[in-house]
């Protein structure tokens, strides 16, 4: 079995507080594996523990308990970050540096050679559309330019694993699309990406696997397909279903009548239940034109999951 890019076992972080206040559990014990070459998206509301997880993996914050490895090397060793690139949220490059100097200095800290740096900086500045501003001081850059420079910086050492915390923050729609294309190119090159973003549509388009964190706990994890198809909702195109057959599991979609055919929404927990329902409809004389799984968007799922756990908390609170 190949060594995963990221693996965590019971990784947790608790911040102790002063004056007898209860400690803050930023991340509850987490087991997570990200395979090499994956684009992994981390979702969660503010304060869910997303940035804490990234900081733990990069040695910026020390774990309270548990372990984590990057490519099989413990995060407690600095060598674990040898093949890692990182774009922090709200990063601040020294304002007195030019774009090119910034890339050169930070790549130097990653141990790249002079030749590699000279080659990569030109290539990456071109790739993030900053080749016209290479010798301008960073303090003259716009937010979007800073973000693109940050991405170039994260890629300078030719990393195998890249952590991007809100990579499209402050970037205009065109720039956002370019960043998305760049991420997909990186995926094609076999680079593992760990993405933290509030933009769910972006995660949905780019990521192969997603986890949702809430209050330091991982509440959902899987491929985008698995997660969005989880509620097993199907769109059924068929001849009119007799009114007495309509139940809360089969109901028409408003305004979908098209000649003799109409669209219905059908709920079925699994394939067996779906086929049983279809057999039942056929026995009622209904002719089926098409059946397709209906997927909710990642945003729908996110809101459902976050809302769900809030409801659970309320009921837990009541039962306690």
């Amino acid at each position: 079995m190949p060594t995963p890019a990221i693996s965590t076992t019971g990784l947790s972080k608790t911040y102790s507080t002063a004056f007898g206040k209860s400690p803050v559990h930023a991340l509850r014990p987490l087991d997570l594996t990200v395979a090499e070459g994956e684009i992994f998206g981390l979702l969660g509301p503010n304060g869910a523990g997303k940035t804490t997880l990234v900081k733990l993996l990069l040695g910026i914050v020390h774990p309270t308990e548990g372990n984590a490895d990057l490519f099989g090397t413990s995060i407690r060793k600095s060598e674990a970050r040898a093949s890692v690139g990182f774009l922090p949220e709200n990063h601040r490059f020294p304002e007195f540096l030019t774009g090119r100097q910034t890339l050169d200095l930070y790549a130097r800290m990653s141990g790249t050679t002079d030749k590699e740096r000279a080659m990569r900086s030109d290539e990456l500045l071109e790739r993030v559309r900053l080749s016209g501003a290479t010798d301008r001081r960073v303090k003259t850059y716009s937010k979007g330019m800073m973000q693109r420079l940050g991405i170039a910086q994260a890629l300078m050492s030719n990393p195998r694993l890249v952590f991007l915390d809100e990579p499209t923050d402050g970037v205009d729609p065109v720039g956002r699309r370019e960043i998305r294309d760049l991420l997909l190119e990186l995926k094609g090159e076999g680079v593992t990406l760990f993405l933290n973003s509030h933009l769910l549509s972006e995660i949905e388009r780019v990521c192969t696997r997603v986890a949702i964190l809430k209050e330091g706990r991982m509440v959902r994890e899987g491929t985008v397909e698995e997660l969005t198809a989880e509620d097993r909702v199907w769109r059924l195109r068929c001849t009119a279903i007799p009114a007495n057959t309509l139940t809360e599991h089969v109901f028409p979609i408003e305004g979908s009548q098209n000649g003799a055919l109409a669209d219905y929404r059908m709920l079925a927990v699994d394939r067996t239940a779906l086929n049983a329902s279809l057999d039942h409809l056929r026995s009622m004389g209904v002719e089926i034109e098409a059946v397709e799984p209906l997927r909710q968007s990642l945003e729908d799922l996110f809101i459902d999951v976050v809302g769900e756990s809030e409801k659970e908390e309320v009921s837990d609170g009541k039962s306690n």
Binding site: Y15, K55, L58, G59, I60, V61, H62, S78, E79, A80, R81, A82, V84, F86, P88, N90, H91, R92, F93, P94, F96, L97, Q101, L105, Y106, A107, R108, M109, S110, G111, Q153, F163
Partner: protein
């Protein structure tokens, strides 16, 4: 670590104060070179003029202990005296200015958004902090070498009296700067606040000035006296090093007691050890 060193050097260059200090150093030795007029006849000082004013020919220069400054001739006495003055100025004024100029470097490195970028690199935390300190030390040593080295060169060329002992002042001033910088480092790592680190360091300097007054220590009654004596022994001895060790070194005398410098260095080592330990454990 080279990357960090370069980053620190660039940051110091970007802070115009350091350039200002190099400018002042340049001004000092140029003015000295232009203003100093000596009439040296067969290796002896026949007359000395500074800014055109005739200087006294009597050798009445003494060190901080009241001992006459060593010199085989009036010329040597004059040179030693002038060099002691230069070393003293670098010590008492230069260190304060340099602390002010470099005081924010540790805190700026620890600012959110900057420290994350550094800690995510495949470098140990010790190397990151050491790289920063090395940058500060390199600039400070360059500044001192430039200032005192040029003063020494001007004095030596103009008078023909080559006093290599004077160059030891570079080491002494540099050592005491680094001792005081250890407190800035410790406070910055602990709190991330530049103003606080400067206030504490200048407060410490003020405290050592008071503690260095021997009769004051004698007058205080117990248990206050024990506390004051303990503080005097533990804290860096900025006054003692500047008033006794530096002049003795510069004038070629045997240093009467190294203990003020040794105990100051011990304080520095302890504060740096604490800074590294804290930096290693801290969450950012």
């Amino acid at each position: 670590m080279t990357g960090l060193l370069l980053l620190t050097l660039r940051e110091l260059r970007a802070r115009k104060i350091i350039l200002g200090l190099f400018g002042v150093a340049t001004l000092v030795w140029i003015v000295l070179a232009l203003a100093l007029r000596l009439d040296v006849i067969e290796g002896s000082l026949a007359g000395a003029r500074l800014f055109g004013e005739e200087m006294s020919g009597d050798s009445d220069l003494t060190d901080a202990n009241g001992q006459p400054v060593l010199g085989n001739s009036l010329l040597e006495t004059f040179v030693f005296g002038a060099e002691m003055f230069a070393a003293g100025a670098a010590y008492w004024v230069g260190i304060l200015l340099a602390l002010f100029a470099t005081g924010g470097l540790i805190s700026s490195m620890l600012e959110s958004g900057q420290v994350d970028l550094l800690l995510a690199k495949p470098l140990s935390r010790a190397k990151i902090l050491a790289g920063r300190l090395l940058g500060v030390a390199a600039v400070m040593l360059s500044l001192l070498t430039y200032l005192l080295g040029m003063v020494w060169l001007v004095m030596s060329v103009k008078t023909g009296v080559w006093n290599p002992q004077f160059l030891l002042a570079i080491g002494a001033v540099f050592a005491m700067f680094m001792v005081l910088y250890s407190l800035i480092t410790l406070t910055s790592v602990l709190t991330g606040s530049t103003p606080l680190s400067l206030i504490l360091t200048f407060g410490l300097l003020f405290a050592t000035l008071i503690l260095a007054i021997g009769p004051l220590r004698e007058q205080i009654t117990q248990p206050g006296r024990s506390i004051v004596v303990a503080l005097y022994n533990v804290l860096p001895k900025f006054v003692d090093v500047g008033a006794y060790i530096v002049p003795q070194l510069v004038s070629g005398q045997a240093v009467a007691a190294w203990s003020p410098l040794v105990s100051s260095l011990a304080f520095g080592i302890l504060a740096y050890s604490g800074s590294f330990w804290l930096f290693n454990r801290k969450d950012f």
